[in-house]
């Protein structure tokens, strides 16, 4: 087999035993890699119905066929566990050296079972596995943990995925970080923390072979060259931060906990402003010829010295969404999240819930006492220092940070139970995962895509904003096309997330990002790597299968149609101003679109998957368990 070793490494933290599982080529042809293979490994290895923070929830890592080759942007891996935020599949992606080290060590995937009694880090040195004491790493930030392990092992090519202080304290919005990239969403850091696993370190010294290296080199060279042109200009220069002004113009830039869609200070937090004042260096993930990460540094004021890569999604969450107009405070907050090991999106949106709860008089200054402010503070929207402080308090579970560390769904439920309030109405999440940087009241196809998303409110797992924003459909109304569009855009995204390839390369194959423009080229890359004979249809099926295994996982964990919901605010409070003013997504609209979507997917009206559908996708054993 080319492109794969055929081997999955199992590590049990309870018994400290390891074993190797061989998988047949047919299994790889169905699950491929990335989020699909990681989710499948989770399906195979979880104790069904377990608490996500119990030993029965496995950590599942899957790299891809392109890792360790010159295929541009192919150095990514999928990470899956049952999410402590949603109780459903938590599938995340990260990238760069860690996945390539894993590939060279000879592993297609890693499954970590059980839980350790003492803090440990696991060192995978090619085919040798070592359980190492992690007590000296406790409390260290993510980047510092990686460096300390490299020092300790004496090799700067050792790559580690780590958790920061937030993961150690089981903060539910905690992430897993490697090479300054995050498997950010759905709370993986808490799962690692529950197992007392501080880091997973890898040294891989073997070479990677492919079926047709000459063909693969030529294809890769051409894509690398195309990736320097206009197709990636947005990412190379402003990065995703170019979105701030675009989305503000459309009236969908989340502002003050989604009470508004237009931020009057958008210019001050724009990609253009960031680039001019704070940008210090553009860097790339390993194996990426685009380079989109805009490293930004605060040079003056109380947050001087803070530095991290700034992307749109973390920025809207801790910026406009908290009413913050000072980029220096936003960079500081994201720096705290990145080094502390937290998802800046969920952190920001949970903070904005707390700010609104304060402004409505339910929380008072007293609730915000902490070591830094013994008398408490007043977190009105726009109070930048309050956002910085709350991020630190969540990371350390200090004071009210202990409540907010649970994420907006649990925090609001707890407050409402204790105080008889209805703060859940402005808790902005779907299935427990906080909403992304697009207000869906002005993007109705996207609203459907988010509602039915298997990991909750995620802009990466559905590209349904595309037809809305491009004007291919009326973004303010619903019609019979939306079910098919939601299916088509989520499966499109899932092809990239499964191979996995970074979506920023999508226009570089032929200049056109649609299926016709990309799938034939991707089929050539797959075939040159593996020696298979994939065609357009085979590539297209990758996405449908990926979504199917994730959905099957959720069904087995108790998913019902009611779980495909939207935040109350988007369904009941019309947007107040701007180009999207007056719009909500009504109950009737949402249920109508869900019917259309389940029908387009070939599922039942209850959203369950028929046996024959699963068998047609090659998932006979899944059909046995959850098919109807």
């Amino acid at each position: 087999m080319y492109g794969y070793s055929g081997k999955i490494l199992h590590v049990d933290l309870t018994t400290r035993k390891t074993w190797v599982e061989s998988k047949p080529e047919e299994w790889y042809k169905i699950y491929i890699g990335g989020v699909s293979m990681a989710s499948r490994l989770c399906w195979e290895n979880i104790e069904v119905g377990c608490d996500p923070l119990s030993p029965g929830n496995p950590i599942c890592i899957a790299n891809g066929m392109f890792a360790g080759t010159p295929v541009p942007v192919g150095g990514k891996y999928g990470l899956a566990s049952k999410s402590p935020l949603t109780g459903f599949i938590g599938d995340s992606l990260s990238s760069s050296w860690f996945t390539i080290a894993l590939k060279r060590a000879g592993w297609d995937g890693i499954v970590i079972h059980g839980a350790s009694d003492d803090w440990v880090y696991v060192f995978i040195d090619d085919d040798r596995v070592e359980f190492r004491d992690a007590s000296q790493l406790l409390g260290l930030g993510t980047f510092q943990t990686e460096e300390t392990i490299r020092e300790e092992l004496g090799d700067d090519q050792v790559r580690s995925a780590t958790i920061g202080p937030a993961g150690e304290k089981l903060v539910r919005v905690a992430s897993v970080t490697n090479d300054s990239r995050q498997a950010g969403r759905t709370g993986h850091g808490a799962v690692w923390g529950s197992k007392k696993l501080k880091a997973l370190s890898v040294r891989g010294t073997h070479g990677v072979s492919v079926a047709d290296p000459d063909a693969l080199l030529q294809l890769s060279y051409d894509i690398t060259q195309a990736a320097q042109g206009p197709h990636t200009q947005k990412y190379r220069i402003l990065g995703t931060m170019a979105n701030v002004l675009n989305l503000n113009r459309l009236g969908i830039l989340p502002t003050r906990n989604y009470q508004q869609g237009v931020f009057e200070y958008a210019e001050l937090i724009s990609g253009e402003y960031l680039h001019e004042h704070y940008h210090v260096k553009t860097i790339a993930c390993a194996q990426c010829p685009i380079a989109c990460e805009q490293m930004s540094q605060v040079k003056d004021g109380p947050y001087a010295g803070a530095m991290t890569g700034i992307d749109y999604e973390p920025l809207y969450a801790v910026g406009s969404n908290c009413g913050v107009k000072d980029l220096r405070a936003a960079i500081k907050t994201i720096d705290i999240c990145d080094r502390g090991g937290m998802d800046a999106m969920s952190t920001g949106v949970t903070i904005s819930w707390a700010m609104e709860t304060f402004e409505r008089g339910i929380f008072t200054k007293e609730d915000f006492k902490c070591a830094k402010y013994p008398e408490g503070f007043e977190p009105n929207f726009g109070n930048a220092e309050a956002v910085v402080t709350l991020a630190e308090m969540i990371r350390d579970r200090e004071g009210i940070g202990d409540l907010l560390a649970e994420g907006s769904k649990r925090a609001s439920a707890q407050v409402d139970a204790e105080r008889g309030t209805e703060t859940w109405k402005w808790a902005m999440h779907i299935k427990g995962l906080e909403t992304p940087g697009y207000d869906a009241r002005g993007l109705k196809t996207f609203a459907l895509g988010l509602a039915v998303g298997t990991r909750g409110a995620c802009h990466n797992r559905t590209a349904a904003y595309d037809p809305d924003i491009k004007g291919e459909v009326d973004r303010f109304s619903v019609d019979e096309t939306r079910g098919k569009l939601a299916k088509s855009t989520e499966e499109y995204a899932a092809v990239y997330d499964t191979l996995p390839l970074c979506k920023f390369i999508r226009r570089c194959f032929t200049g056109k990002a649609d299926r016709a423009g990309a799938w034939p080229a991707i089929a050539k890359l797959i075939n040159a790597t593996t020696g298979w004979d994939f065609d357009y249809d085979a590539v297209d099926l990758i996405g449908e299968r990926a979504f199917t295994i994730k959905k099957a996982f959720n069904i087995r964990e108790g998913w019902t149609r009611e779980d495909d919901h939207l935040p109350w605010r988007w369904m009941h409070e019309p947007m107040k101003e701007g180009p999207s003013a007056g719009y909500v997504v009504s109950e009737e609209e949402l249920e109508y679109m869900k019917d259309l979507y389940y029908e387009a997917k070939g599922w039942t009206k209850d959203g369950l998957i028929p046996k024959e559908k699963l068998i047609a996708l090659g998932m006979d054993d899944v059909a046995e368990e959850i098919g109807v």
Binding site: G68, T69, P70, W97, I100, R104, F143, Q157, S180, G204, T205, H206, G207, V208, S209, V210, P213, L217, Y221, T224, Q225, A227, Q228, V280, K281, T282, I283, A284, C285, A286, Q287, C288, P289, A291, M295, M307
Partner: protein
């Protein structure tokens, strides 16, 4: 800080352009070993701190310390190109050359136990493959003299035009 004393060409990296993607290492290891393995690359990317990134290969020093250090006379320097050649029959992988190199540009092949050093792809018509592949044009073949000329020109532009 060690500097090259070379009159010869070598591969240099502009750290303001390098993004740390490692494509140079992929292509180098493939050209030299037939596999993709950055461990076996003769050019190495370095990320010293989060934003300090560059790549390093042999600087073809004059009176190369690695040649002098070799106890078995396995290394020799081509008088025309400055490229260091390794006689695999003599080299026993003792790594004295690795220690002698101020640039960290030499490594020992873990399987054959011989030294490996950048040869600027001298046997290939289109020259060093890392330079050809570098997506950000951060790598180039140059000499210290040419770098000095460029620095002078840059200085002139800055001082005269103030930009």
């Amino acid at each position: 800080m060690p500097t090259s004393t070379s009159k010869y060409q070598y591969i240099t990296c502009d750290p303001t352009k390098c993004v740390g993607c490692q494509l140079c290492e992929y292509i180098c290891s493939y050209v030299k070993t037939g596999e993709f393995n950055t461990y076996r690359s003769r050019i190495r990317t370095v990320r010293a701190e989060e934003i300090l990134i560059t790549a390093v290969a042999c600087r073809t020093c004059e009176d190369a310390p690695c040649v002098i250090a070799c106890p078995r006379d396995a290394l020799s320097q081509d008088p025309n190109t400055g490229i260091i050649h390794v006689d695999a029959n003599r080299c026993d992988g003792c790594a004295w050359c690795v220690e002698a190199c101020d640039f960290g540009a030499i490594s020992i092949n873990p399987e054959t136990k011989t030294a490996e050093i950048c040869d600027m792809c001298e046997d290939l018509e289109d020259g060093p493959q890392c330079v050809k592949w570098c997506p950000k044009e951060a790598l180039e073949l140059t000499t210290p003299d040419r770098r000095a000329q460029r620095s002078r020109r840059k200085l002139a532009v800055e001082e005269v035009l103030g930009r």
